[in-house]
């Protein structure tokens, strides 16, 4: 009997103590959390990054673009023989010319990682999907190989594997009967986040120049956002309103 009374009397005290302790703890921890978050990135808390590329074709020579393609080949283990219509090409060198003026330019062309990807809309199984951080990928476990996404892509970015493959690299599983395209080196991004450098960028960004700039488009303080704000860039087939994450300068 007495113990019960004691317990009842102690209850309010216990509650008060817990409240006080919680308040103290929050006050101590809150600044730390705030600092930690702001230290991580300037992307607003709760907002995902959106990875993008800024490609400056003014700086890129034809040899540079070839180096991009080779780097991607080495990183992911694909190879395209010249004039083979069935070999996969994740990234390719495109030559633009204007016969009237004699203008010529070279640029690397890969999946544009659109914000509104037509390939994602048309995939019947949802294998073609856009990750929360904006990277457009093919989930090859679910891909049935119908190639409808290849019909739908405005940039012809996707390739279908037409034969049995051997010696795939651990970072890039690829197999017959599925569709693939540039992954923005997602295996590097998953490890390094904003510090990641895709293989194509790594190949051409030598000596401090940033011919291909990778970064977070959602972070207004990132280098890519600053550059875009300063100099602007072009989206390919902009009239389609797909908002690609890959932007070009010098076109």
């Amino acid at each position: 009997m007495a113990t019960e009374l004691e317990n009842i009397q102690l209850e309010p005290a216990r509650r008060q103590f817990l409240k006080g302790a919680a308040a103290l703890a929050t006050t101590l921890l809150a600044p730390g959390i705030l600092l930690y978050q702001t230290g991580q990135a300037s992307t607003a808390p709760g907002q995902q990054p959106r990875w993008g590329l800024l490609i400056d074709t003014n700086i890129l020579s034809e040899a540079d673009v070839d180096a991009c393609v080779s780097a991607c080949q080495r990183e992911h283990g694909w190879k395209a023989d010249a004039d083979s219509p069935t070999d996969a090409q994740w990234i390719r060198k495109v030559k633009l010319s204007d016969p009237a003026t004699g203008y010529q330019n070279f640029l690397p062309m890969m999946c544009q990682h659109c914000a509104q990807p037509p390939c994602v809309d048309v995939c019947p199984t949802g294998a073609s999907f856009k990750r929360a951080d904006g990277i457009v990928l093919v989930n090859k476990h679910t891909c049935i190989g119908c190639r409808y996404c290849m019909m739908a892509c405005p940039y012809k970015a996707r390739s279908f594997i037409h034969e049995n493959l051997k010696d795939q690299l651990p970072v890039a599983p690829r197999g017959k009967g599925t569709v693939e395209s540039c992954t923005l080196c997602v295996h590097r991004i998953d490890r390094d986040g904003a510090d990641a450098v895709p293989a194509c960028a790594e190949a051409v960004n030598q000596g401090g120049r940033k011919a291909i700039l990778f970064g977070d488009l959602n972070d207004p303080q990132s280098e890519i956002s600053n550059r875009l704000r300063e100099l602007g860039a072009v989206k390919l087939r902009a009239d389609m309103d797909l908002d690609p994450a890959v932007r070009y300068q010098g076109l």
Binding site: K79, N139, H141, N164, P170, P173, R188, R191
Partner: protein
């Protein structure tokens, strides 16, 4: 006599059933190698004494559960958990040094093939995924790409993280 045909048939069926079961029981009791051509698999153990991912009994039953769950986490969410990753499996179970022959999934002594051939469960993982760990990938890759610069183990570990047990 005519009416007893159904019961005769039933008796015959019972005898056959019991006979087949007896043969089967006897066969199961014997060591398998003496009964037929099939040997019980003994998958190669990793050379270095590393902690196993899960106890053997758990792995035998549930390794597909881990893999299936992990593959969705990796592809859809970008979570690369070294513990249950397929690359992690291959790093330990089919590492192969640069001097030895590359063991591929088509070979009977491949870690996965040794059990899967015995159980007759066809898998298609290795139609896409590399069926061996780092060193042998490097070796075969070098023969494919003659112009590759020297491969950096450090770079690869940077890409994929350390294997379990390091």
């Amino acid at each position: 006599m005519v009416q007893s045909y159904p019961s005769l048939l039933r008796l015959l069926a019972l005898i056959i059933l019991l006979g087949v079961s007896a043969v089967g029981l006897v066969a199961a009791a014997e060591p398998a190698s003496s009964f037929g051509q099939v040997t019980i698999p003994s998958p190669p153990r990793p050379a270095e004494a590393i902690n196993c991912v899960e106890p053997v009994e758990v792995m035998r039953r549930d390794h597909m559960k881990f893999l299936l769950h992990q593959r969705d986490a990796t592809v859809l969410d970008g979570e690369r958990d070294k513990k249950y990753s397929l690359v992690g499996c291959m790093d330990c179970h089919n590492p192969a040094s640069a001097n030895e022959e590359i063991v591929r999934y088509e070979d009977a002594e491949h870690f996965c093939a040794s059990c899967h051939n015995y159980a007759s469960v066809k898998i298609d993982c290795f139609e896409c995924h590399a069926d061996r760990g780092l060193a042998s990938s490097q070796q075969s890759r070098l023969t494919l790409w003659a112009d590759t610069q020297a491969f950096s183990m450090q770079t690869f570990r940077h890409q994929m993280g350390q294997p379990r047990g390091d």
